[in-house]
Symmetry: none
Subunit: 541 residues, 2 copies
């Protein structure tokens, strides 16, 4: 049986830009458009030509895409002809093959927000759509507040849709603009719309996540017969965001009943790039990727419960609803005080440490992890520190060098221009190759900016480690996270440091102390020890 086609309409560049704190540059819009096109969506709504300089610049130099590039706008304003409305003219002037315009279908909004009669609004819809079609473009109609409008006055709301359809709109899109409609209602009303004569294969759905149901509402509309879904990458959008295409695409392609029944423009190969596309958008927005995001989050296939982890080892399908590789994601079995021995052995073997089932060292390691987590350590993320702890317990950790003492000074005073400036200085004393070595560094970066005491300490610590110094040259600190947490009864500081080297290895270490400098130093020390153990023992990553 041949599959039915579902159409994907992306509005990351338009409704996604309505997200609080989001403001794309023209270059970023181009980058996102190319990524969307590579993914395989059918439409890319690029913005509202005429509404702001960025959107104008984007359409002036829009990338060539297989997806239909679409300009967004609104119906012509009352009191002038479609031909004479300069706002609508600006939208058409963007020269896109497809044009999507939003218009009213809710009687309350027609009368309150537009201040015109219901009949005048129908004329306005008809003329606006007809004008777009007459310009040789494909017209889409975003029926604003459709669900609220239908509940208030179903006859009028349907008349608006029919008017747009008869005027030549290719797609009629039911918009839940306020995001307040729940899935069962979306299902019921979408069915009623189709029953009233709007063909399902000309019907789209546009939802918002104000009740955390945007994905479910989109599915409910598809179940009822709609064949276009509007949404955004990572669920960006006004208020709580739009329907999240990053969740909807894998659902439609991998989950039943959709996978067997429908096809989209996204290939299974492109789907493997989904995590990468999601991260790219977060990079552009300088957002920390949401770990718990469905399908693409770093935690989406992380199995923390001991019961789950041990079953996963027998058969991943026991606790995974899809294979994470299908969307470019990966399984994680984190360490925690809920983890069982099987989880532990798996994690040790990932670190190149083979330990037999039943080895008493397993119990010792678990005890040590539990005791340290009670002090405030966290080994879920700090895999490298976990590995060092295990090596210590197994007697497989060489002592490359010993830190005898250190001292850090932070000083803030006026400089010669009478401006307050800070500088930190660190002295570290280590014993390596049987010799005592003193190193001193300060916290200034090349630009003369103060990077603080931890930076000074990191530099002094790695400055002279004898035979090991060469191995640390390509290592750098890429992230530094601090949390105040509870260690026993006292508040302590937990520091997690992410490091990277020239070979592209990235590893996380943890330090805990009431003293933030001490906690940082401990994490730094672990970072260096792990790098040495990997490079010298040649353990597989």
């Amino acid at each position: 049986m041949s599959k039915e086609r579902l159409c994907l309409y992306d509005t990351t560049l338009r409704d996604g830009q309505q997200t609080q704190d989001v403001q794309f540059s023209t270059e970023e819009k181009q980058q996102i458009a190319r990524a969307l096109d590579a993914l395989g969506v059918d439409y890319i709504e690029g913005g509202w030509p005429g509404a702001n300089p960025t959107d104008n610049a984007f359409f002036d130099a829009a990338p060539k895409t297989t997806a239909k590039m679409t300009a967004f706008g609104m119906t012509k304003r009352p009191g002038m002809s479609a031909q004479n409305d300069d706002v609508l003219a600006a939208v058409l002037n963007a020269g896109t093959g497809s044009v999507c315009i939003v218009g009213k279908t809710h009687d309350f909004h027609v009368e309150t927000a537009l201040g015109i009669t219901l009949e005048e609004n129908l004329v306005l819809l008809k003329e606006s759509i007809a004008h777009i079609v007459a310009s040789g473009r494909e017209a889409l109609f975003d029926a604003e507040h459709f669900f609220d409008g239908y509940k208030a006055n179903p006859g009028y709301a349907l008349d608006c849709l029919k008017t747009a359809l008869e005027a030549g709109a290719r797609w009629i899109v039911l918009c839940d603009t306020n995001g307040g409609t729940l899935p069962a209602e979306v299902h019921e009303i979408t069915r009623a719309v189709i029953a009233a004569g709007i063909p399902g294969d000309q019907l789209g759905i546009h939802t918002h996540d104000d009740t955390e149901n945007a994905v479910a509402c989109s599915l409910a509309a598809v179940d009822a017969g709609a064949r276009q879904i509007q949404g955004t990458l990572n669920g960006l959008g006004e208020r709580c965001g739009n329907a999240n295409l990053t969740a909807l695409i894998p659902i439609l392609m991998l989950k039943e009943p959709y996978a067997s029944r429908f096809e989209t423009g996204v290939s299974l190969k492109a789907l493997k790039g989904l995590v990468r596309t999601s991260r790219m958008l977060d990079e552009i927005l300088n957002r920390v990727p949401r770990k718990q995001a469905a399908f693409v989050g770093a935690s989406a296939f992380a199995h923390k419960a001991g019961l789950h982890a041990s079953a996963i080892l027998k058969d991943p399908s026991t606790y995974e609803h899809i294979d994470p590789a299908l969307v470019g994601n990966a399984r994680i079995i984190p360490m925690s005080n809920q983890a069982g021995q099987s989880n532990l052995r798996k994690r040790l073997s990932e670190a190149g440490l083979k330990v037999e089932k039943g080895d008493p060292a397993l119990g010792r390691i678990l005890e040590e992890v539990k005791a340290r987590e009670a002090e405030g350590y966290a080994y879920d993320t700090a895999q490298a520190s976990f590995e060092l702890l295990a090596r210590d317990a197994l007697g497989q950790m060489p002592e490359y060098f010993e830190v005898k003492r250190y001292r850090v000074t932070v000083e803030r005073r006026k400089n010669k221009y009478n401006k307050m400036v800070s500088v930190s200085e660190a002295v570290v004393v280590v014993k390596v190759d049987g010799e005592k070595r003193l190193s001193v560094s300060e916290s200034m970066d090349e630009a003369g900016g103060d990077r603080g005491p931890v930076n000074a300490l990191a530099k002094a610590l790695s400055k002279d480690l004898g035979q090991y110094s060469g191995m640390l040259e390509d290592m750098r600190l890429v992230d530094f996270k601090v949390r105040i947490t509870q260690g026993g009864t006292e508040a302590v500081t937990r520091v997690i440091i992410d490091s990277e080297d020239g070979a592209g290895q990235r590893w996380s270490t943890v330090g805990v102390s009431a003293n933030i400098v001490d906690a940082s130093f401990e994490a730094l020390l672990d970072a260096i020890r792990w790098k040495l153990v990997r490079d010298l023992d040649g353990a597989s990553v």
Copy 2:
């Protein structure tokens, strides 16, 4: 018509703790339990007694709650009697009135994960539930992987439920453990379960957010007749999280058809505390609150689109599906316009600062807040620092003293017992009453423990401030939060300090710098300046 009762079962302290990177302390669990009880949930699943020391300590001193405190565990292990299973015994020994145990209902899991026959599993379910009931407890049965089990072998999955019901379980909870079942299927299978004889008012639903449908799946089960909903605050939980009670509670209470048909244990008054409860959990986890979260997110009622914002001014119901005040949230309209300024005046008057409408100082303060927030400052929580910033802009901030310079030293070395110890020392030089004063303090507490450089700095700073010293004696630092954030293009450290005084006042201040000691010092300085301004100006709190 009287309303039907829906039962809310919270598992933040158990399944929520399965979130990657989440590890509650015993005190934090107690704090969360009290907040859940104040909110009005029916059950609080406190953890798995016997699984880890934190959960044991929590049940040893569990807070007295109106909600039923519930211990979680698993069915007895094969090959021993329920009486002789020490894992199950540990769960019962927690002494809770309600006990929830998870057991298998999916034939594949019975055979693959447990390695026993289908018949043996039924016996095991029966004996485990019967043992709990015989111990005088209320029993709940979490039917693990129920939906997958039902699809694979409906007869067997239903037999498992019937066995648990007949053995005396008060609630049978259908768990979508892998999170892969979609809403329509949850609806259909839940109906089938009820049709097969499991009463809806003994039926619960437990979903996960792996397809972003956990809330919708919970609603689908309620639509089909289930009357208990399991979930977590802020949707914490294994992998992508559990059903988010922070979204479900307002849906059930405020949205149709639920609001008219059902009631829960949450009152409309308690619902107004929802945002506060959500933020409290983020504070404990030191997480940045998710701005786009449904109902409680800072952006949930932020109207960025120009069309929306202008209609909102005419009538908020044009673009809001509920009144934000009902959940303790607030509308946000971009700062630049008139609504922004009236918000600001409100906040200033709360700080005792009267500013006339139209005063150009309002614009200056808004500009300064924007510029500083771009550098990494955050004034949402740091109300005291915001007030100082406003006073500076209004020329209403006296300079009580001036910090000329400071120096902090952190030293780690061996003590006379050959043990590594740390000590920090701070020197602060201030000019007060026209005189220069030098103070020095170290970081040791009474017990000889090192409290770190910020502690030493705080002590030295407040040690000798001339005429002001007396006013600072009752002031103490009660919380200290550190976050790495973005200031312009560089990563900077943001420190938020909470202080308290003898009169019970509590205030928050913020400092930002690439240098964590500097950032802390700035926040400390603000804390002292705010205390002096309040005590000397007598401004009302």
